[in-house]
Symmetry: C2
Subunit: 448 residues, 2 copies
């Protein structure tokens, strides 16, 4: 079966698992600071021939946050460590364009791409949590559209910095004493609305040209950003029809922006609850539910919907809320789900507790595979970010029981055929903007 008809898989990793109470299971190992566990997850994903392992991030913590993210290893240093303990799998980390500096961040992702031999990916986020502002000396979290405008320029600057050195610029010619071919070095000299960055960056062009860009925007501004720069789209979707419409919309926007829509891989989050039978899977979900702390669970939902829900009656309908300015993808999807199924607040709370607001797939390995195939065949997804409810067992089950079915159906690779994350995703390596140009055109190209 041709490569283009196979899906892509990532494992989205929160140290305690995605179910709000997953860490409390007897078999669960917990902790986003538990490197041995994270290493095991990465190696299991690599055994399952996954495209990538993916780490969330947030720049704040406190008593109100989900145990999964209260404390954790910093994602960029974590990727560098995992690069040493894996050989093929892509390594993706979230980093904020609101509270980072483009020169420092461009260096770090380039460095990880070098250390890993071309396996780095950057999930560009604008920062969903306003609490971060206080950690960075800002009186206020910038409003939504401003954050996206900053992000657009931020990514442009970072890509420009990655182009500071053409391939082959560092010649290290011992005989002549020439260390670098300075005709292949380019200053950026960016002066924009939000950033002014001279360059060049002090690291060679990354093995992948640019590390893979992941984006998860769901709002209007978010979709524009995602369709203009996103190579992997991390989406929150509950319904195949809505997901297909979302995917089609993003692909149309990408085409309008002059991109090949096939160069964008849409990978919604999915939480699989796998059992030997459907009843067994339901029993597993119920067992997780018994461990749930109702207060934590309601906090997860409140965060997703952008409003404190504790004043509302649990057995009443899900209240109609003003438009969220923080996690619009989650807010819209969960509100639609509640309306469709006429859910009470309690029911929506328990649903969101399971998968942090993402799609829940429940059943036998075959049923899970069916649920993935359905969306893939419908064009609603190019792949999936698997969000196990707890670690490591629930993820081991997916790799050992679901992946072989997908492989048997020809829907997923049985072996890596390349070495870089771009290879796995079937994405071309971006060429340097000056490639193939006559020497006298280079200055102009770089300046433009």
């Amino acid at each position: 079966m041709a490569k283009t008809s196979q899906m892509h898989l990532g494992v989205f990793t929160l140290g305690t698992g995605h179910h709000v109470a997953g860490w409390r299971l007897k078999e669960a190992q917990a902790g986003a600071e538990n490197f041995q566990l994270i290493e095991q997850i990465a190696q299991t994903a690599e055994r399952g021939k996954f495209d990538l392992i993916f780490f969330a991030d947030a720049l704040n913590t406190g008593p109100k946050v989900h145990p999964s993210v209260m404390v954790r290893l910093e994602p960029l240093t974590l990727l560098a460590a995992l690069a040493m303990r894996t050989s093929h799998i892509g390594l993706a980390a979230t980093a904020s364009s609101t509270y980072s500096d483009p020169y420092n961040l461009a260096r770090m992702f380039a460095s990880i791409d070098h250390l890993s031999g071309g396996r780095a990916a950057w999930n560009v986020v604008t920062g969903a949590f306003p609490e971060a502002a206080g950690n960075f000396g800002h009186a206020n979290h910038p409003p939504h559209d401003l954050r996206y405008a900053i992000a657009t320029e931020f990514v442009k600057v970072v890509k420009g910095l990655w182009d500071s050195w053409e391939d082959g610029a560092i010649v290290m010619n011992k005989a002549t004493g020439q260390f670098a071919d300075l005709s292949k070095m380019h200053e950026l000299n960016h002066k924009g609305e939000y950033f002014s960055v001279k360059g060049p960056l002090n690291i060679s062009r990354p093995p992948q040209g640019y590390p893979v860009i992941i984006q998860a925007g769901a709002s209007e501004a978010g979709r524009d950003l995602a369709s203009s720069i996103g190579e992997v789209i991390f989406a929150v979707q509950q319904d195949v029809g809505v997901a297909k419409a979302f995917a089609d919309d993003l692909r149309a926007r990408a085409a309008k922006a002059g991109r090949d829509p096939a160069s964008m891989k849409i990978m919604p989050g999915v939480c699989p609850i796998i059992g030997s039978s459907e009843a067994d899977a339901k029993a597993k979900l119920a067992a997780l539910g018994e461990f749930s702390d109702p207060v934590s669970a309601l906090k997860v939902l409140s965060e997703r919907l952008g409003q404190d829900l504790s004043p509302y009656p649990l057995d009443g309908p899900v209240p109609t809320l003003p438009q969220s300015t923080v996690m619009q993808g989650h807010a819209v999807t969960l509100s639609a789900l509640a309306k469709k199924h006429n859910m009470t607040l309690r029911e929506l709370r328990d649903y969101a507790a399971s998968a942090m607001g993402h799609r829940l797939l429940l059943g036998t390995p075959e049923q899970i595979a069916d649920g993935l195939e359905e969306w893939f065949v419908a064009g609603a997804a190019d792949g999936f970010n698997i969000m196990p409810p707890w670690f490591p067992g629930a993820f081991n089950d997916f790799v050992d029981q679901v992946v072989p079915i997908l492989q048997k159906r020809g829907l997923f690779r049985t072996e890596y055929t390349g070495h870089t994350l771009r290879d796995h995703l079937g994405l071309p390596r971006p060429s340097h903007p000056t490639a193939g140009m006559a020497t006298d055109a280079i200055g102009q190209a770089v300046a433009s």
Copy 2:
């Protein structure tokens, strides 16, 4: 021999070696982006029972910089990778307090300390190169004293963030569902002159309490900062008497600041040129000199002295220059050396080309060991940062030929006796500010 009478050793790593032309030797492996080489250096240092491996940094590059630092792996991601490939050696990286953010940097060093099991160190620099400003949207590099004032507050904030969680705060009690003991979580609520940071940091207290702080300030402001926060002092010294006076001055300042002067390890840089005889060592230095590009060599000296020296006649005396505002330690030391030996500009250029302005030790392994012992016994140094002229051979020679002599003399450990960098250096783990306090005093202590 008691631990306190043994010296400490670090290897200061520049990918192409410290001699400006070291990379051109036939046996040299070059490149600060060559991870296999850097890994080999770290493992050789660990085999030699070194305290630490230490990476320089700068936030700019361009045609004028030394090949060693034109392109390189980003130091923090590099440390995380090395943590996976080593087991005992301390891992030190340079990071700027002028062009970093305290929340992001505190997280990263904490994360590296967790990943390495307590082996991280942060070399606090204020940024010697004004060219960095243009990469961070600043019209100008802040002046020297302002940079040191910012650094002082920056380090205070970072330490405060490292204290966000007391030891044992993350309980992960599966039975009760309690994830964290929130009475052990502390907001920082810092509002200072340059930073406003709320906290808490989203990572547990580092295994070392605080990663080890390295400082290399040599100016008045630099000495104040070094003696108030530095646990390892990286110094540039050429003369044992001057070095002793510098060490005594720092120890006196530390005592005045209420610190135990023994909790500060002064480790000047030393470039060893090792031969089977003194004549052989001199021949090696001459061979390196033959590869030197005079223009690059003069650039190194110009950088160290803070002024472009190309207009001055090479065979005239070293000119008297205005006080440097960039690398005061280098400028003062090299100027004094030139005056003492009545050097021409050419002679000083060739000396600085060898060791980037640091002390050159030339001779047999015994002579090198003598040169280190002399300073150590005199109280001019608690140890040394070894700066090999090229890699990997010149460093292998030090570990294989000089270290055994130091060990035989009882001047250096023959085995690691601890696991953290603080263990190696004999530095206590800083206790949490609330340790041992009654509960009602905690709020006050954290607020103060």
